[in-house]
Every structure is written in C-alpha cells, then in structure tokens.
Amino acid sequence: MEEAADNREQTQDPQTDESVEAGHAAENVTEEELNPICIEIRKLNLFYTKHVHALRDIHLDIPRNKVTAFIGPSGCGKSSLLRCLNRMNDLIDDCKIKGKIRIDGEDIYHKQVDVANLRRRVGMVFQKPNPFPKSIYDNVAYGLRIQGIGSRRILDEIVENALRLAALWDEVKDRMDANALELSGGQQQRLVIARTIAVQPEILLLDEPASSLDPISTLKIEELINDLREKYTILIVTHNMQQAARVSDYAAFMDMGNMIEFDSTDTLFTNPSEKQTEDYITGRYG
C-alpha cells in the first residue's frame, strides 16, 4: 500500500469553498440545500495490478441525502468504486488509486485522514449478511463499545433506535440475547444495517444488499432504504435493475470501468441518452 499511497494525489487543503461558505449560511437552510453534493469524485483511476485497470477517469458528484444506484454488468467496476469510498481497497495488495474523492469537501485519501473514523462515517453493508456470532444486542452495540461507550443506558437507547430505524425492533425486542445467527437471512441483513447505522454514519454503501434474500425480505430492505434516505446519503450497487429503478433517486450506469451515464433515475430508465445504457437496461446485446 506504500506504493498505492505514493500514487495518490495529495490535497493541501481538504476544505472546499462550499464548506467554508456553510459557516456563513442563514439559519433554516438545511445541509442538503446548502451543500447538495456529498461526494465529489474526480479523475478517479483504480488499478488492481498493472494490467487490471478497474476504474477509468471517473468523474461524479453524489447528491446528499439521496439514494444513488450503480448498475452495470459484472466486472464493470461498480463495487470497486463503492469500495474506494471508504478505502476498503486499501486492504488489497498492489492496488493503486489515482485521482480524488472528497466527502463533504475533505479528501479522504489525504495522509492525515483517520481511516477507522472514515469507515465509521461511511458504513458498508455487503451482499452476504455478516453478523458476528454474538447476541443481537451485542452485534448492534459492537461499534459503540469500540468507540468507548460503556453506559448500559446509552447503549440500550442507541441499540433500540438503530433497530427501530432498521425496521427490526418489533421482530427482535423480546430476544435481544439470542444469537444473531439464529435470525433469517433478511433479518440478519437488517441487523447488519442496524449495526452500521448505530455508529451514526453519514453515508451508507450497500453492495448488493438484497441479492441473497427472498423477494419479501428484498422488499423489506428496499422499504428500509426508502425510510433511511432522509437521514443518510445512500449508494447502492445492484444487479437488479428493477430494484435500482424502485429505490434510487439517481442512477449511474458503468461498463468496463467507465462511467457511461449518470442521471436522475426517472430519466435513466425512461429516456437514457447513451445507447450503451439503453441496450443494457432494455436487455439487448451490447
């Protein structure tokens, strides 16, 4: 990763003009109105090895408190892009990243960035539910305890709120000490989302969160995404185009590491401007 770090462009001042302006803003103006862009991606290139160029000159502004869906064929780079946003790719040997990603104006690849704190701010949920082999309660409280929160009263409150937000509270409130692995797949995935939102992230990255679930559990996850959109900026990678059309406000179509088209979901699914997007979402030969 040293080589990877060397390849990153460094910013001197991670604060942008927008965030400076935020201090002078009038009251009653929401963060969303004041600073509608949450994540700025500029000329992002990702190489897994010298020969595998996974992302090519990605330029994208992700709107705040909206759901943005990434669609595209397998290997198009959508999951790689998601993993760049909380520096999960740092864990991969020989991975090199060029370009810039700013979250709230701050360059997340700046050498002074605390990666653990970044991953708290940018939570991630994977395709396969991965609860810890602990009680339901301990799963949700896990990140909080790592942060040093020991008060049972505070933990109880945050755990309950997180489970309520994840639409799981009513199903588990009477068995908080039960092992999380006893839950169904859909419940486990909502538990993982509760665990992620318990540490109060700003951004949720969902990498195929419903692809291993049955249709009813999938709909519950989609309903949950709908409920969470007011509080979080949500990015979702999905192979299910109808799911992208149902849950997202904005959609991005990627192919072979390129960002082909980014637009409002309404436009992308009714009148895309690129032929490649049209062919993909209508199920034609590329």
Partner: protein, 239 residues
Amino acid sequence: MNSTAGSHGHHISRQYNADLEEVKKHMLEMGGKVEKQLADALDALIRADSGKASGVISEDDVIDSMEMKIDEECNLIIARRQPAASDLRLVLAIIKAIRDLERIADESSKIAKAAIKVSEQGELPNGLIEFRTLGQQVQRALNTALDAFVRHDAEAALSVVQDDQDVDNEYAIAMRAMITYMMEEPSSISHVLNVLWALRAMERIGDHAKNICEHVVYMVVGTDIRHEKLENIADRLSG
C-alpha cells in the same frame, strides 16, 4: 436514441422481441382497420349509402375487441418484462394510441349514422359536400400518424401536430358554409344538421390523429409535447 428506437429487436430474450413485434403488429392492423372504417364512413356520407354506413357501424365491435386484446398484450408485457427506456415508451405509446384509434372508430360510426339519416332524406345537395376537404385532411392526418408510428418518424408526426390548425380552419369554413346553406334553404335544416354532426366527428378525428402523433414524438425522442404551444415545441425538442 432515434437510430435504434425503430427496431425493438435485439433483446437477449427472443421471446421479448417477439412479444413487442407482435403487439406493434396488432396495433398497426387495428390502425389499418380504423383507416378503412373512416374511408367507408366518409364515402357512405358522400354517396348517402346506407348499406355501406351500416357495415361501418357493425364493424365497430371488431375495433373494440382489437383494442381490448392489444391492451391485454401490453399489460402482460409490463407485468412480465418490466420494459424500460425505448421499450417502455413503445408500450406506453401503443396503450395510448389504441385508445385514440378506438375513438376515431367511434367517430367514424357517428359519421356512418349521419350517413344513414342523410340517405333517408335523399342524396345531399351539391352545396353540402363542403366536408370533403375536411374528410380528406383527417384521412391524411391519420395515415401520416400511422406511418410515423411504423417508421418512428418524429418529424412526420410533428407535421400532423402542426397541420391540425389547418383542420380546425377547414372545420370553421365548412361550418360557415352549412350555416349559410341553412339560412338560404330553411327547409334543408334537418339535412344540414346531420352533416354538422358528421363535420364535428371529422374535426374530433383530426384531434385524435394529432394525439397519436404526440405519442409518436414521445415514443421516439422521449419528450412529452402534449398541451405545449406550437411555437414552443421546437424548443422543447431541441432542449
């Protein structure tokens, strides 16, 4: 997108290709049938031919059945395939266009009913054949609308939208001629009233042909130009 929009094939699912082609074919068959209904109704009126007019009225049930069948096919495509982008716009355009076609057939039946009443009163005097131009105009509008649908030709569709003003003008001219005729020949009022109903039906047919063309523009370029002023349409399409 226009270059590919005309073809609704090339899906990975061949059955999906077949389903879309089939529903499009059925819609055009319905269009052809409606064109014939209109032509027969106008001819029956000019010739005061009650036999031909009765044929138009009895065939209206066939058009209604076609509309319901195509509606059902579209419903199944939406339920099974969840069409997107140009496919979605095609299915939506068909659902809307067949409604207008069915209404054109209804208006043709009204013309046919007027023709039967006219025939009961004898042939129309020459002065009452003023509706022929209007009839030709709306026939041309319907024909162009269906052609534009087949060829995915937004420009041709737009020309019908623009020409609808001419249809309205011709309708006003024919109305004035009828009123003049009634003033000159008060004994012909009941005769003329039948022609007035038919004129009104023709003008409505022009509106429905225009509607179909608006659906074609939406289908081809994805822009909804309904309720848009003529002078703004070009800006909407280029913007």
